[in-house]
């Protein structure tokens, strides 16, 4: 298989190098035909904040040139000065294995990253749009997407929050049944407050209030997450009606004290009060932990949760590796079946077995003297039927390789020829 992968990722290059080779979807759309024009290959690629990967497939026997593809990739972003050791090159089965590992999230910076599968899918979509995906790369990417989906559904590689802001929201979901019926108050408008507010909105929180010392920043964040602004001086008046409070302001003293929350907790009609303190120094008096139905989490406890989730995800890697192995061998079997010789052999065997079965079923209806003739005639019929397709398959080397693979694949699918049997034939 003449497949090559050129990859630059967090394994091989720092962010300042990776960002120079980041391609937007529009750039990928215009770059892929360029590759095809220069090197006559099928090509597909995807680009994220942690990696840019180009997959090229050629029907020529001549191996693909790493340097040529790397230079084309670098030229695409006017970054020819990026050193060669910032790239990783993989060929054949290693490239297949790599793509499957990437799609399943175990090669990501954040193990089990959920975004990567969508990015691989987008890579296939862009290549199809640009007309450069070809039959082989389409099948390869589809197999990678299936691997990624299996990894997520059959293992816990994507479970548990691995960012502090998302961990806070996940904790809220362990306390409250339906966030759509809950009210949250975000005190502060810094980066962490923004991220948490976005996650809460993503989980369709019922009502979201923003309160910050600087009203402009409150308004800006409120516009981003469709929230209501509360003047900073008044946020305490709203505490009786909220279920979730996220505090992230720069303050020397506690913004929420234990006596204040004890008083509010008494007046509250609803159940639990969930407090997230992501301020440094802390915004909420730790003594509120002693209050009944009040749950307080600070950065340390959230980091602890994130760390535990990361460990759990790492423990799932062997299971994902098993899935990657299964999918890779299935893909290899499928690919090996796409050679003309085993396909012809499998097709002949299939038709011959049907002929034999039918002859055996009906042989007693014929006089003994005619039985030999029956065998002969039925063999001639199937030989004549198979003659043209077999000749076309054998002589099909002139047509485009991608089309040829497509024809063989369609034929195998049409006749239900099992790929594994052919692999055994090959062996």
């Amino acid at each position: 298989m003449n497949l090559l992968c050129v990859s630059i990722s967090h394994h091989t290059a720092p962010l300042e190098v990776r960002e120079r080779l980041w391609f937007s979807p529009e750039e990928i759309r215009s770059f892929l035909p360029n590759i095809r024009d220069h090197v006559s290959v099928d090509a597909a690629m995807f680009s994220t904040c942690n990696r840019t990967e180009l997959y090229a497939f050629s029907s020529d026997e001549q191996p693909l040139e790493f340097d040529r593809l790397r230079n084309l990739l670098a030229e695409g972003k006017s970054a020819r000065d990026i050193p060669a050791d910032s790239f990783r090159f993989l060929t054949g089965v290693d490239a297949v294995d790599h793509l499957f590992r990437v799609a399943s999230g175990i090669d990501s910076l954040v193990i089990g990253d959920v975004q990567i599968l969508a990015q691989v899918k987008e890579g296939l979509f862009l290549a199809q749009e640009a007309g450069t995906s070809g039959f082989f790369l389409t099948k390869l990417f589809q197999a990678a997407l299936r691997t990624g989906k299996r990894a997520r559904s059959e293992t816990r590689i994507g479970e548990g929050a691995v960012s502090v802001s998302y961990a806070a929201v996940e904790l809220a979901e362990k306390i409250f049944d339906d966030l759509r019926e809950k009210t949250a108050l975000v005190i502060g408008a810094g980066e962490m407050a923004q991220l948490t507010a976005k996650h809460l909105r993503g989980k369709q929180i019922g009502t979201l209030y923003i309160s910050n010392r600087t009203p402009e920043r409150s308004k800006h964040l409120a516009a981003m997450v469709n929230a209501t602004v509360i003047p900073y001086e008044q946020f305490k008046d709203h505490l009786g009606g909220v279920d979730i409070v996220i505090a992230s302001v720069a303050a020397e003293e506690y913004v929420l004290t234990s006596p204040m929350l004890a008083e509010i907790n008494k007046r509250r009609a609803t159940g639990a009060l969930f407090l997230i303190d992501i301020g440094v120094p802390r915004n909420i008096d730790p003594a509120v932990r002693k209050l009944e139905n009040v749950f307080l989490y600070d950065l340390d406890s959230l980091n602890g949760l994130v760390h535990e989730n990361e460990l759990k995800r790492k423990n799932e890697i062997p299971k994902v590796n098993r899935i990657v192995g299964e999918e890779q061998s299935e893909f290899t079997v499928w690919l090996s079946g796409l050679h003309a010789t085993p396909t012809i052999s499998a097709l002949s065997d299939l038709i011959e077995s049907i002929r034999k079965e039918e002859v055996e079923k009906n042989i007693n209806r014929f006089e003994p003297r005619d039985r030999e003739l029956l065998n002969l005639v039925t063999k001639r019929i199937i030989n004549k039927i198979l003659h043209t397709p077999i000749v076309n398959l054998k002589n099909g080397s002139d047509e485009n390789h991608s089309e040829r693979l497509h024809t063989i694949s369609a034929l195998r699918k049409l006749f239900g020829i099992d790929g594994e049997k052919d692999a055994e034939h090959e062996a």
Binding site: K174, G271, A272, N293, F295, G304
Partner: protein
């Protein structure tokens, strides 16, 4: 029929054990096969249990609620059946292991100690008796389920408070769901015990000559019912929420078991099982 009843009396605890073990494998071991078959095993066991109770009623010609051990078997059935309904309606089977352990325990004790009563007093064949005992049993089943969910709530509450994000945290439903399930059982317990007490007050004086309103079991049940009533009022008024109500539901179960065992055996007069 006798052979059928005797066989099922031995087999039922084994069936419940297999069900509990399978639910445990699904919860703690994440076993795919266990997740796939656990509900079907429970449905089969509950069906066999129903046939067993029906068989007992036909074989001994009285409802199977005349001895404490028959009652325990009916209670095991009620708990398992109620859980099955909860699982089907909520489409969530994570809590089965905890609830069905109680059903297994009740059935195990029942199977070990149960006696075959062929002759029972005529009063035990009365419709009022059926209504009285039926309502009380439904109340006890509701108390049991409320207590188990209350217990799970308290476990998860403490784990979240202590930032202990282990298996219980990962697998149990959220606190509000556990509280709602427990509180539903809590309210059902209040209603059914209320019916049992009301029917008892109307029917007992006409049936028992030695009726005494100061009977410890009667007093205990009324106090239990009042306790549940106080809990409901306090929650409605917003005085009690979350943890306090759950603690009450667990205590309610403890008092019920005490009332059914120690008080029933050692202190109760007319109001006794056979």
């Amino acid at each position: 029929m006798g052979f059928f009843v005797d066989s099922f009396n031995i087999l039922l605890p084994a069936f419940y054990f297999i069900v509990v073990w399978t639910y445990g494998k699904a919860f703690f071991g994440d076993a795919v096969w266990a997740k796939a078959i656990k509900s079907r095993l429970l449905i089969s066991t509950v069906s066999f249990h129903f046939l067993y109770l029906l068989g007992r009623a036909i074989e001994f010609n009285h409802p199977p609620v005349t001895t404490i051990f028959e009652i325990l078997s009916v209670l095991a059935f009620c708990v398992a059946f109620a859980y099955l309904i909860i699982e089907i309606r909520s489409k969530s089977g994570e809590t089965g292991y905890f609830i069905l352990n109680i059903a297994f325990f009740f059935q195990f004790v029942s199977s070990v100690f149960i006696r075959d009563l062929l002759e029972v007093p005529e009063i035990l064949r009365s419709n009022f008796f059926g209504l009285h005992v039926g309502a009380a049993l439904l109340g006890y089943a509701a108390i049991t389920i409320s207590a188990v969910y209350g217990f799970l709530y308290l476990m998860l509450y403490h784990q979240i408070k202590a930032s202990n994000f282990g298996m219980i945290y990962a697998k149990l439903p959220n606190l509000e769901t556990l509280e709602r399930m427990s509180y539903t059982g809590f309210k059902m317990a209040f209603v059914f015990l209320g019916i049992a007490i009301l029917v008892g007050f109307l029917w007992l004086p006409k049936t028992f000559l030695d009726v005494s309103y100061s009977d410890p079991k009667l007093v205990g049940t009324i106090l239990l019912w009042l306790l549940y009533g106080i809990g409901i009022v306090a929650k409605r008024l917003g005085e009690w929420k979350g943890r306090k109500v759950m603690i009450l539901s667990v205590w309610g179960f403890g008092i019920t078991i005490f009332s059914m065992t120690v008080v029933n055996i050692f202190f109760s007069g007319f109001h006794n099982f056979y």
